[in-house]
Symmetry: C2
Subunit: 114 residues, 2 copies
DNA sequence: TTGATACTGTAGCATTGACTTAAGTATTGA
DNA sequence: TCAATACTTAAGTCAATGCTACAGTATCAA
Protein backbone atom coordinates (compact mmCIF):
# COMPACT_ATOMS: atom_id res chain seq x y z
CA UNK A 1 0.00 0.00 0.00
CA UNK A 2 1.18 3.46 -0.91
CA UNK A 3 -0.74 5.39 1.72
CA UNK A 4 -1.49 4.19 5.23
CA UNK A 5 -4.70 6.23 5.44
CA UNK A 6 -6.85 4.54 2.80
CA UNK A 7 -8.57 7.02 0.50
CA UNK A 8 -12.25 6.53 -0.47
CA UNK A 9 -11.25 5.64 -4.03
CA UNK A 10 -8.84 3.00 -2.73
CA UNK A 11 -11.56 1.31 -0.75
CA UNK A 12 -13.94 1.40 -3.71
CA UNK A 13 -11.49 -0.08 -6.23
CA UNK A 14 -10.37 -2.60 -3.65
CA UNK A 15 -13.99 -3.59 -2.97
CA UNK A 16 -14.77 -3.99 -6.66
CA UNK A 17 -11.68 -6.12 -7.31
CA UNK A 18 -13.40 -9.25 -5.98
CA UNK A 19 -15.71 -11.14 -8.38
CA UNK A 20 -18.02 -12.14 -5.55
CA UNK A 21 -18.44 -8.56 -4.43
CA UNK A 22 -19.01 -7.43 -8.01
CA UNK A 23 -21.72 -10.09 -8.28
CA UNK A 24 -23.33 -8.55 -5.21
CA UNK A 25 -23.12 -5.09 -6.78
CA UNK A 26 -24.68 -6.47 -9.97
CA UNK A 27 -27.53 -7.91 -7.97
CA UNK A 28 -28.04 -4.65 -6.08
CA UNK A 29 -28.03 -2.64 -9.30
CA UNK A 30 -31.35 -4.37 -10.04
CA UNK A 31 -32.79 -3.26 -6.73
CA UNK A 32 -32.39 -3.59 -2.95
CA UNK A 33 -31.92 -7.06 -1.47
CA UNK A 34 -31.58 -8.78 1.87
CA UNK A 35 -28.35 -10.46 2.95
CA UNK A 36 -29.85 -13.89 2.27
CA UNK A 37 -30.97 -12.83 -1.19
CA UNK A 38 -27.46 -11.59 -1.93
CA UNK A 39 -25.99 -14.85 -0.68
CA UNK A 40 -28.40 -17.17 -2.49
CA UNK A 41 -26.64 -17.37 -5.92
CA UNK A 42 -23.13 -17.23 -4.47
CA UNK A 43 -21.04 -20.37 -3.79
CA UNK A 44 -20.09 -19.34 -0.26
CA UNK A 45 -21.52 -19.26 3.24
CA UNK A 46 -23.75 -16.50 4.55
CA UNK A 47 -20.90 -15.61 6.87
CA UNK A 48 -18.60 -14.88 3.95
CA UNK A 49 -21.25 -12.75 2.28
CA UNK A 50 -21.66 -10.68 5.43
CA UNK A 51 -17.91 -10.08 5.43
CA UNK A 52 -17.98 -8.99 1.78
CA UNK A 53 -20.93 -6.77 2.54
CA UNK A 54 -18.95 -5.02 5.25
CA UNK A 55 -16.18 -4.25 2.77
CA UNK A 56 -18.68 -2.86 0.26
CA UNK A 57 -20.27 -0.72 2.97
CA UNK A 58 -16.92 0.60 4.20
CA UNK A 59 -16.15 1.57 0.62
CA UNK A 60 -19.43 3.48 0.50
CA UNK A 61 -20.68 1.39 -2.41
CA UNK A 62 -23.54 -0.15 -0.46
CA UNK A 63 -25.64 0.99 2.46
CA UNK A 64 -27.91 -1.16 4.56
CA UNK A 65 -30.63 -0.89 7.16
CA UNK A 66 -31.98 -3.51 9.46
CA UNK A 67 -35.71 -3.87 9.95
CA UNK A 68 -36.65 -6.61 12.34
CA UNK A 69 -34.28 -9.47 11.58
CA UNK A 70 -33.81 -8.58 7.92
CA UNK A 71 -31.02 -6.31 6.69
CA UNK A 72 -31.87 -4.64 3.40
CA UNK A 73 -28.97 -3.52 1.23
CA UNK A 74 -28.96 -0.74 -1.35
CA UNK A 75 -26.41 0.24 -3.97
CA UNK A 76 -24.93 3.69 -3.42
CA UNK A 77 -24.77 5.15 -6.88
CA UNK A 78 -22.65 8.13 -5.82
CA UNK A 79 -19.68 5.90 -4.95
CA UNK A 80 -20.04 4.08 -8.26
CA UNK A 81 -19.92 7.45 -10.00
CA UNK A 82 -16.68 8.35 -8.22
CA UNK A 83 -14.98 5.24 -9.55
CA UNK A 84 -16.39 5.86 -13.02
CA UNK A 85 -15.14 9.44 -12.92
CA UNK A 86 -11.59 8.44 -12.01
CA UNK A 87 -11.42 6.33 -15.14
CA UNK A 88 -13.11 8.98 -17.25
CA UNK A 89 -10.49 11.49 -16.06
CA UNK A 90 -7.57 9.26 -17.08
CA UNK A 91 -9.18 8.73 -20.46
CA UNK A 92 -9.61 12.47 -20.83
CA UNK A 93 -5.90 13.10 -20.12
CA UNK A 94 -4.91 10.36 -22.50
CA UNK A 95 -7.10 11.74 -25.29
CA UNK A 96 -5.69 15.20 -24.69
CA UNK A 97 -2.10 14.14 -25.27
CA UNK A 98 -3.23 12.05 -28.21
CA UNK A 99 -4.93 15.10 -29.75
CA UNK A 100 -1.77 17.13 -29.17
CA UNK A 101 0.23 14.51 -31.06
CA UNK A 102 -2.23 14.58 -33.93
CA UNK A 103 -2.08 18.36 -34.04
CA UNK A 104 1.72 18.23 -34.08
CA UNK A 105 1.75 15.63 -36.84
CA UNK A 106 -0.69 17.53 -39.06
CA UNK A 107 1.16 20.80 -38.49
CA UNK A 108 4.51 19.26 -39.39
CA UNK A 109 3.46 16.76 -42.04
CA UNK A 110 4.73 18.78 -45.02
CA UNK A 111 8.14 19.56 -43.53
CA UNK A 112 8.66 16.08 -42.07
CA UNK A 113 7.66 13.99 -45.10
CA UNK A 114 10.64 13.24 -47.44
CA UNK B 1 -11.89 -15.93 -5.94
CA UNK B 2 -15.18 -17.00 -7.43
CA UNK B 3 -13.85 -18.29 -10.72
CA UNK B 4 -10.53 -20.04 -11.28
CA UNK B 5 -10.29 -18.81 -14.86
CA UNK B 6 -9.89 -15.09 -14.34
CA UNK B 7 -12.04 -12.98 -16.65
CA UNK B 8 -10.56 -9.85 -18.30
CA UNK B 9 -12.67 -7.57 -16.10
CA UNK B 10 -11.41 -9.36 -13.00
CA UNK B 11 -7.84 -8.72 -13.94
CA UNK B 12 -8.53 -5.08 -14.70
CA UNK B 13 -10.37 -4.33 -11.44
CA UNK B 14 -7.78 -6.33 -9.55
CA UNK B 15 -4.98 -4.35 -11.20
CA UNK B 16 -6.60 -1.01 -10.42
CA UNK B 17 -7.20 -1.92 -6.77
CA UNK B 18 -3.61 -1.07 -5.85
CA UNK B 19 -2.78 2.63 -5.22
CA UNK B 20 0.72 2.21 -6.65
CA UNK B 21 -0.61 0.74 -9.86
CA UNK B 22 -3.25 3.46 -10.11
CA UNK B 23 -0.45 6.01 -9.72
CA UNK B 24 1.29 4.34 -12.66
CA UNK B 25 -1.91 4.51 -14.70
CA UNK B 26 -2.26 8.21 -13.80
CA UNK B 27 1.27 8.83 -14.99
CA UNK B 28 0.66 6.93 -18.23
CA UNK B 29 -2.56 8.82 -18.89
CA UNK B 30 -0.33 11.85 -19.45
CA UNK B 31 1.70 9.99 -22.04
CA UNK B 32 4.06 7.03 -22.51
CA UNK B 33 6.88 6.51 -20.02
CA UNK B 34 9.85 4.25 -19.39
CA UNK B 35 9.97 1.86 -16.43
CA UNK B 36 12.40 4.17 -14.62
CA UNK B 37 10.15 7.16 -15.20
CA UNK B 38 7.22 5.23 -13.77
CA UNK B 39 9.29 4.20 -10.76
CA UNK B 40 10.75 7.61 -10.06
CA UNK B 41 7.92 9.11 -7.93
CA UNK B 42 7.03 5.83 -6.23
CA UNK B 43 8.36 4.83 -2.80
CA UNK B 44 9.42 1.36 -3.90
CA UNK B 45 12.22 -0.39 -5.73
CA UNK B 46 12.41 -0.68 -9.51
CA UNK B 47 11.88 -4.37 -9.04
CA UNK B 48 8.51 -3.81 -7.39
CA UNK B 49 7.47 -1.43 -10.18
CA UNK B 50 8.31 -4.06 -12.79
CA UNK B 51 6.11 -6.52 -10.92
CA UNK B 52 3.23 -4.04 -10.83
CA UNK B 53 3.78 -3.35 -14.51
CA UNK B 54 3.40 -7.03 -15.30
CA UNK B 55 0.04 -7.10 -13.54
CA UNK B 56 -1.13 -4.02 -15.46
CA UNK B 57 -0.01 -5.61 -18.73
CA UNK B 58 -1.72 -8.93 -18.00
CA UNK B 59 -4.89 -6.98 -17.29
CA UNK B 60 -4.52 -5.33 -20.71
CA UNK B 61 -4.41 -1.87 -19.16
CA UNK B 62 -0.86 -1.17 -20.27
CA UNK B 63 1.27 -2.32 -23.17
CA UNK B 64 5.01 -1.94 -23.51
CA UNK B 65 7.76 -2.26 -26.05
CA UNK B 66 11.46 -2.47 -25.54
CA UNK B 67 13.80 -0.41 -27.69
CA UNK B 68 17.44 -0.85 -26.83
CA UNK B 69 17.57 -1.07 -23.06
CA UNK B 70 14.51 1.12 -22.47
CA UNK B 71 11.01 -0.29 -22.14
CA UNK B 72 8.36 2.25 -23.05
CA UNK B 73 4.91 1.77 -21.54
CA UNK B 74 1.61 3.00 -22.93
CA UNK B 75 -1.86 3.12 -21.43
CA UNK B 76 -4.38 0.93 -23.24
CA UNK B 77 -7.48 3.05 -23.33
CA UNK B 78 -9.71 0.19 -24.52
CA UNK B 79 -9.25 -1.73 -21.27
CA UNK B 80 -9.99 1.42 -19.28
CA UNK B 81 -13.20 1.78 -21.25
CA UNK B 82 -14.26 -1.76 -20.39
CA UNK B 83 -13.99 -1.04 -16.69
CA UNK B 84 -15.81 2.26 -17.12
CA UNK B 85 -18.57 0.50 -19.06
CA UNK B 86 -19.13 -2.10 -16.37
CA UNK B 87 -19.82 0.65 -13.87
CA UNK B 88 -21.95 2.60 -16.34
CA UNK B 89 -24.06 -0.54 -16.91
CA UNK B 90 -24.72 -1.03 -13.20
CA UNK B 91 -25.69 2.62 -12.92
CA UNK B 92 -28.03 2.21 -15.87
CA UNK B 93 -29.79 -0.76 -14.25
CA UNK B 94 -30.04 1.09 -10.99
CA UNK B 95 -31.55 4.17 -12.65
CA UNK B 96 -33.99 1.98 -14.51
CA UNK B 97 -35.47 0.47 -11.38
CA UNK B 98 -35.45 3.88 -9.76
CA UNK B 99 -37.41 5.27 -12.71
CA UNK B 100 -39.85 2.38 -12.46
CA UNK B 101 -40.44 3.21 -8.81
CA UNK B 102 -41.08 6.85 -9.65
CA UNK B 103 -43.48 5.82 -12.40
CA UNK B 104 -45.29 3.55 -9.98
CA UNK B 105 -45.49 6.23 -7.33
CA UNK B 106 -46.82 8.88 -9.71
CA UNK B 107 -49.34 6.47 -11.21
CA UNK B 108 -50.63 5.41 -7.83
CA UNK B 109 -50.34 8.68 -5.95
CA UNK B 110 -54.06 9.53 -6.06
CA UNK B 111 -55.27 6.09 -4.97
CA UNK B 112 -52.58 5.61 -2.33
CA UNK B 113 -52.78 9.02 -0.65
CA UNK B 114 -55.33 9.09 2.21
C1' DT C 1 36.68 -3.05 -23.30
C1' DT C 2 34.85 -1.27 -19.52
C1' DG C 3 31.83 0.97 -16.54
C1' DA C 4 27.27 2.83 -16.15
C1' DT C 5 22.47 2.38 -17.26
C1' DA C 6 18.09 0.12 -17.63
C1' DC C 7 15.98 -3.25 -16.72
C1' DT C 8 14.91 -8.70 -15.51
C1' DG C 9 14.15 -12.65 -12.65
C1' DT C 10 13.98 -15.23 -8.50
C1' DA C 11 13.87 -16.26 -3.59
C1' DG C 12 12.14 -15.14 0.67
C1' DC C 13 9.12 -12.94 3.93
C1' DA C 14 5.54 -10.45 6.36
C1' DT C 15 0.78 -9.16 5.64
C1' DT C 16 -3.60 -9.26 3.85
C1' DG C 17 -7.65 -11.59 1.98
C1' DA C 18 -11.14 -14.95 1.32
C1' DC C 19 -12.90 -18.16 3.11
C1' DT C 20 -14.96 -21.95 6.84
C1' DT C 21 -16.64 -23.62 11.22
C1' DA C 22 -18.80 -22.86 15.25
C1' DA C 23 -21.15 -20.43 18.62
C1' DG C 24 -23.79 -16.77 19.41
C1' DT C 25 -28.15 -12.96 19.37
C1' DA C 26 -32.44 -10.89 18.01
C1' DT C 27 -37.11 -11.64 15.65
C1' DT C 28 -40.96 -13.91 14.22
C1' DG C 29 -44.65 -17.23 13.83
C1' DA C 30 -47.23 -21.12 15.54
C1' DT D 1 -43.00 -20.58 24.98
C1' DC D 2 -40.24 -22.55 21.57
C1' DA D 3 -38.44 -23.63 17.26
C1' DA D 4 -37.16 -21.60 12.96
C1' DT D 5 -35.26 -17.64 10.62
C1' DA D 6 -31.96 -14.09 9.63
C1' DC D 7 -28.23 -12.64 10.55
C1' DT D 8 -23.64 -11.65 13.59
C1' DT D 9 -19.11 -12.40 15.52
C1' DA D 10 -14.87 -14.64 16.44
C1' DA D 11 -11.36 -17.89 15.55
C1' DG D 12 -8.54 -20.20 12.59
C1' DT D 13 -6.65 -21.78 8.00
C1' DC D 14 -4.37 -21.27 3.78
C1' DA D 15 -3.31 -19.02 -0.48
C1' DA D 16 -2.37 -14.69 -2.72
C1' DT D 17 -0.02 -10.02 -2.49
C1' DG D 18 3.33 -6.55 -2.10
C1' DC D 19 7.31 -5.94 -1.15
C1' DT D 20 12.91 -6.29 -0.67
C1' DA D 21 17.46 -8.07 -1.61
C1' DC D 22 20.35 -9.87 -4.65
C1' DA D 23 22.15 -11.64 -8.69
C1' DG D 24 21.87 -11.46 -13.20
C1' DT D 25 21.59 -9.72 -18.68
C1' DA D 26 21.58 -6.59 -22.40
C1' DT D 27 22.60 -2.02 -24.19
C1' DC D 28 25.16 2.27 -24.56
C1' DA D 29 28.88 5.57 -24.20
C1' DA D 30 33.54 6.76 -23.63
Amino acid sequence: MLQYQAQPLDLAFQALSDPGRRAMVERLSRGPASVSELAEPLPMTLSAVVQHLKILEEAGLVSSRKTGRVRTCTLEIAAMTKVESWIAERKRFWNQQYDQLETYLSENSQEESH
